[in-house]
Amino acid sequence: MATTTASLTITSSDLVGDALSLSASNTLHKAGTTTGLEQATGLTKTYLTAVTPIDLFGTILPSGSTGNVSTYEGKSHWIYISNKSEDETEYATITIGDKVIGRLYAGDFMWMPWDQATDALDGTTKHADIELAPSVATGMWFEHCMIHEGMKLPTSV
């Protein structure tokens, strides 16, 4: 069993009247257990040169009669995305299942759980996909990683 620890510290000496210091740390477990997560995509670095939204993390559905159900719904997945641009005007729009979460501006990162939820539509490609759309086509760098409990990989063609 692997041990993965995620920690966050937020500090500011001038946001409020007294210094702000917030710290959070936890070990990543499989859903509802104290067993550590054992799979990861690795830390990936990507250079995007179009504003077209791409699936950074796609949900692949099982084939056959369960084709509308995500096998890994309710499992534990953790997503890290970082916008490595150094131009403060450049951002990426992050969405889940076509629902906009927010914009990651240059230097921003995000860390969140991902449920791979099954949606109510009978689509085959949109289920909980994490999408990223750069704001410019002149080239933007991103880093991303998923630490997880399981994912379905595409069948070779």
């Binding site: 692997a2 041990t3 993965t4 620890t5 995620a6 966050l8 510290t9 937020i10 500011s12 000496s13 946001l15 917030l22 959070a24 936890n26 070990t27 477990h29 859903a31 509802g32 257990t33 997560l37 054992e38 799979q39 990861a40 690795g42 830390l43 309710g74 534990s76 997945h77 890290y80 970082s82 403060e88 992050i94 969405t95 889940i96 299942g97 076509d98 629902k99 906009v100 979460i101 927010g102 914009r103 990651l104 501006y105 230097g107 921003d108 990162f109 995000m110 860390w111 759980p113 991902w114 449920d115 939820a117 099954t118 949606d119 109510a120 539509l121 949109k126 909980a128 990683c145 630490i147």
Partner: protein, 155 residues
């Protein structure tokens, strides 16, 4: 202008070579290098039912001043519980107000589930607090008392 720094560290022996993520961001206003200046403060909320409700309602309550037009807002949420089987389901969009989760629609109009926060887990995301469908929803997994802490930094 304030200076707010957030530092993320992920360490793991999940691969034979380990895995390490270290990142730092200074929270700035959209498209600028000017620091964010506003916050809701760290809020703490208790739940005693499994109803899906708004944790943050866009343009309302403690989020009344959070921009609704795709500017720079950061949202932090933590499940401060200690029972590893209990979790909050976090989503974005319209809450049902009942124990039945709002139907998830992949066209993104009404609601989409983001993920679960089990005991001790936390998240930090940008928040596009668009009016009407930009609410942050929360649903406890049990009706016994569960506690969440959350905070928004915004421009």
């Amino acid at each position: 202008m304030a200076t707010i720094n957030a530092t993320l560290s992920v360490t793991s022996d999940i691969t034979s070579s380990g895995l390490s993520i270290n990142d730092k961001m200074t929270m700035t206003k959209a498209g600028t290098t000017t620091g964010l200046e506003k916050t809701t403060g760290l809020a703490r909320r208790f739940f005693t039912s499994t109803n899906q409700v708004d944790l943050l309602t866009a343009a309302s309550g403690i989020a009344a001043d959070v921009p609704t037009d795709k500017l720079s807002s950061k949202l932090y949420i933590k499940n401060v519980g200690s029972d590893s089987a209990q979790y909050f389901t976090i989503g974005k969009g319209n809450s049902s107000g009942s124990a039945t989760e709002t139907a998830i629609s992949s066209d993104g109009t009404a609601y989409y589930r983001i993920g679960r926060l089990y005991a001790g887990e936390w998240m930090i995301i940008p928040w596009d607090a668009v009016a009407t469908t930009g609410d942050i929803t929360i649903q406890p997994s049990v009706a016994t008392e569960m506690v969440v802490e959350y905070m928004v930094f915004f421009e």
